[in-house]
Subunit: 129 residues, 2 copies
DNA sequence: TAAACTGTTATATAATATATCTAACAGTAT
DNA sequence: ATACTGTTAGATATATTATATAACAGTTTA
């Protein structure tokens, strides 16, 4: 389990932690049942506060990705079954649209954006499970 | 020029404004040289504060999308030429990855995400200019 | 030219989010 | 029992977001 935080980033520390744990989940580096470092351990190794790590863990548990139990370390929850709810699709679609809009307004060509999308599609196909 | 704000949203008002103006730019509903409502006008019609609108306009001008001149209304700037800087591509790529990761962890199937991406690609192709 | 509009700057206040620190409490593992 | 877990409770500090009021500077228009 490896994490790093960027103090120069405008992104809050707890969000940086969440992002990296999610990435490790997607890549299969973390699997259901795996134990995370204790909040004190991780806080110590990152030179940040216990409660900042805890906030990250809390948010992840609210999203159903972590299981938190008193006295025990946090463990990776059983990942959600594949459920293509319209609600979820709509949210993702909206977020995709935002990124693409920014890309075009930043001066990226349609074809460049097209390529980036294709590239991510390939990353998907070559992923685990 | 039409805007709406959602008070129940956790997204700051000024960001909601920015987002909607960008969308209108992408769809070609706003073009270079077009005048935006004055900060006081827009604030009034949305029942929000002048400075909240101003913050939105400021951020947009910092991104080179708006031209602000003392005494005059804000106008849409000449949109950036197509410049596929590696820096920009890297940022967009990172944001795309985040969205896709969330999609998968939310339980969307790879194929569903694939479809959403294809759909956005099509929206691109059918866009203006 | 005067009045009415622009953006801009300056202060102040308030609520919320983020991060830290210290301390205690409750459950689990050794 | 001891030492580890998460949890809850305070307090403090800083940054962000939003509001409000007022004045100033440049532009438009009547």
């Amino acid at each position: 389990m490896w994490l790093s935080i960027d103090n120069k980033s405008s992104r809050p520390i707890y969000l940086q932690i969440i992002l990296q744990i999610k990435e490790q989940l997607r890549r299969g580096e973390l699997k259901t049942g795996d134990e995370l470092p204790s909040v004190r351990e991780l806080a110590n190794s990152l030179s940040i506060n216990m409660h900042t790590v805890r906030r990250a863990y809390l948010r992840l548990s609210e999203q159903g990705l972590l299981s938190l139990r008193l006295g025990r370390r946090a463990t990776i929850a059983s990942l959600p079954q594949i459920t293509n709810s319209t609600e979820n699709e709509a949210e993702i679609s909206a977020r995709l649209e935002e990124v693409i809009t920014d890309a075009l307004l930043m001066g990226l060509s349609s074809s460049a954006v097209h390529n980036l999308l294709e590239q991510q599609i390939n990353n998907l196909e070559n992923a685990k499970t």
